[in-house]
Each structure stands twice: as C-alpha cells, then as structure tokens.
Symmetry: C2
Subunit: 254 residues, 2 copies
C-alpha cells in the first residue's frame, strides 16, 4: 500500500525534521530502498521535504526557525513558557472577554488557547495574528504605536482604545519581578498601559516564568496583591513561593 507508506514517511519526517535513508529502509523493511527513494522524490515534488545526501529534511522543520519569525527574535525557554501557557488556558472561560498582554509567554498562551468563542483583546500584533488563525475567537487589536522589540502597541491612543473595552480577565506578562517591587517592565509607555489594564480587569492572571524572578526593571506596573493568579513554571523555589504567600495571602500560585 504505497499511499499509507508515503503518509507514514511524511509524518515521520515532519516530526523528526530530518531522517536518513538508512533509517527509513530499516523502518520499512517490507519495501526496497529504491521504493523509499521514490517516495521521498514524490514528497519532494509536493514540497513537503527536500532531499539531501543520505536522506531528507522536512521543510516544515526548517520553517520552525521562522515560525516564530513574527515574534522578531528567537524565543528562549520555550519549554517553560509552554508549561505555563498550558496551565493558564484553564483560566480562560469561553464566551468571556479576555485580555492578552504582549509577550513571548503570552504568545504561547495564545497558541494554546482552544478554538472557542472568546472575545480577546490584545496589544501584541503577533498575538493578534496568532489568534486570527483560529476560527472562533473575536480578535480585537489595540491600536497604537508599535514598539519594535516586542511588537506591542502602546501610547496615548492605546489608552483611549482601552477605555472603550471591558475585560473580564487579563492575562499579563512581565519582564522582571521581585517580591518587594512587584511586576516590572522596561518601558514607560508600556508600563502605563499595563498598569491601566490591571486596574481595569475584573480578574488578573500573571504568566511569569522563573527566569524573571529577582530581575529588576525600571518600572513597576503591578504589585503582588493586584494579582489574583500567578502562574509560573515548576522551578519556582519554595522559599520564593512562601514569600509571595506572605505578602499576598489571597494570591493563587499555580
């Protein structure tokens, strides 16, 4: 059955990124290497992969590096961020108006968000783009001047825009955090904007990976007790957890 074999090969290479002819012939002992070759050729014609000496590489895999191109820079600690995003999705209720802050962790959150009827408002153009790929959610982009480092809108027009939006729950991101100073970011405009979102939202969820902990930034847009839920990755130390609980007894740490 040639078709199902080709499909298997396709799947294999898409998940592995690159595969050698030797491995393929080992995996498909029922056919000759020549057949596998021809399969690869067929897949190459379809633009699925490109053949290289000794095997083939998946075009998708190559594009993975670019997939996140629209987030401008390579994203680090993707595993941590994904972990956080998966946990955060639980807090998004369908039919509600949610705000998603600009940021790389929140970008993962947007990716993980199921395709349901949320009303999403965001100030990140990469997040708006990501959400636009889904069929159901209504995507509302906050306008304003785009800052090139993080693709987020801010400024007075953003503020005006925000005034016209209601937010049930805000999923926020930060660049730095200490228990004393709270959640910080690096730019004044953004800071003001984030601060207003936090004030405005009925419920606030902070997505923060542990690389942000004990890192200071110029501006604080939110203190610990502004926040209802703090979602971090598994490597948050118990001491820090305790300290957070002491300062903000009502916070839920996930």
């Amino acid at each position: 059955m040639n078709h199902s074999r080709i499909l298997s090969i396709k799947r294999l290479i898409e998940e592995r990124g690159r595969i050698s002819l030797n491995e393929l012939t080992r995996r498909f002992p029922e056919v000759s290497s020549m057949t596998v070759r021809r399969d690869l050729q067929a897949l190459e014609n379809e633009g699925i992969l490109i053949r290289v000496r000794g095997g083939a590489v998946s075009v998708k895999e190559l594009n993975k590096n670019v997939e996140d191109m629209y987030s401008q820079r390579a994203i680090s600690n993707t595993e941590l961020k994904k972990e956080i995003a998966v946990k955060a999705v639980e807090f998004a209720e369908r039919g509600h108006s949610i705000f998603i802050d600009s940021g790389s962790t929140t970008l993962f959150f947007a990716k993980e968000l199921p395709d349901l009827n949320y009303y999403v408002t965001t100030n990140g153009i990469n997040i708006a783009f990501e959400l636009s790929r889904k069929a159901m959610p209504v995507v509302n982009m906050i306008g304003g001047v785009i800052s090139k480092n993080n693709l987020s809108a801010s400024g007075s027009l953003s503020q005006m825009f925000l005034d016209n939006v209601n937010v049930d729950i805000a999923f926020m991101a930060c660049s730095g955090f200490t228990p004393e100073n709270g959640f910080m970011c690096g730019h004044m405009n953004e800071n003001e904007f984030k601060n207003n979102v936090v004030k405005k939202a009925r419920k606030r969820v902070m997505l923060m990976d542990t690389t942000k902990v004990n890192r200071s930034m110029p501006f604080t847009f939110s203190t610990l007790d502004d926040i209802d839920v703090l979602i971090t990755d598994s490597s948050l130390s118990n001491e820090m957890k305790q300290e957070i609980k002491n300062r903000a007894p009502n916070i839920l740490i996930v």
Copy 2:
C-alpha cells in the same frame, strides 16, 4: 581569500535560492571544486543553507514560502504586485505621514518601502509586522476588530482611532474595480473605514493589479475622481486606460 569568497557564495545563494556546484565552480575558477564544497559545508554549519545533491538551497529561500504565512493565504500574482509596489514606493516621501491600507498588494508595498523615517499608519497587522522589521519608520497600528480573511482592523473603534491621525498620503487597495462603480471591497465595515481614509488623506494613491479590473464587489468606497494616482501593472489595456482618463481627467496613471 577564503572569507570573502564564502561571503560571496552566501550572498549568491541568498539571492538565487538554490545553486548548483557546477555553477559555483564556474563562478569561482580560481579555486577548486573541493574548496567550494568545503565552503558550502561551512555555510551549512552556520545554518545558512542546506546542501543537496549537486549544490545547495538557501534556508531563507525555503522560508520564503512561509514568510508569507502571516498573510494567511498564498499570495497570487506576486510578480504583478511587486511591480506595482516598486512603482508606488516613489510616491512615499520621507518624513511624511503615510497610510497603508490592508491588502496583499500593499503588503508588497510595505516590503519595498525603504528603511527611512516615515510615519506609517496601517490597519493591517501583517503590514504593521512587516514594517516593524525596519528600523526607521514609526509604525502606528489602527486598532479594532481583526477580520480573519485579510488581517485588517475595522469597526467603530478603528474609526475613532483614525479620527486622531493625520494622513499626508494614503496608499489604498481594493478588491474590485469598474470605471462606473469605482473601487470596491467586500465588507461593509471595511468599506466604511476605507471611505473615511480616502476622505481624510490629502493625497490618495490606489494600488490595483489588473486582476481586479471589471470585477464587482458589494461596496464602493471610492470613485475614480477621489483618487490622485492609480498604479497598476503593465497589462492594463489601453481602452481601459482611456476610459479612466475620460472619467477622471486629473488622475495620474502609472
């Protein structure tokens, strides 16, 4: 001089996308094919290209297919659109406030725009993204509800946003055109928004490839004599050109 040669090879492959070893040895007769091979190997290690039988393909080139991923669908007639974009760039003056309408032709325009100090306002998130890759222009994104088919913002909030922006020159796109009905688009919200941009701008440039000619859409956002410059590709018929001139004597057709 090994380094400059490797750089040349890199540039060559980045502009051509794919190159054969034969061609490379022809282009670099001063070194042996073995050396070229080793150069390719070096570039492969850097992730610039991947070697295939008989030559190499540029990773960038492969990504080009995905580059336009963020425009959601494959772009057709890219050559026409590029031609138009190149011509349109002439009309963008540095230091001015320009508006770029959402659309695939205008996306090319955004790509072609040189990296200078424009003040750009746009309602397309893909266009805002594209512009954010450039260092100089100030990018101002119009907020609003994002429509998923063309990644553009529209709605009452967009309107409010537009009220706060001044536009020297607007580069517009349309989905259909007939001389009688003028420039048309498919959605009411977009239509209203585009219409307001046209009203507001001091100068209006329409980017329209000939596939749009004699195609009707539900809504008209601009008539012929609203427009100052009409930029099309080379395959606009002379009859149509004449008819346009008759109806709008002051229009400049490029």
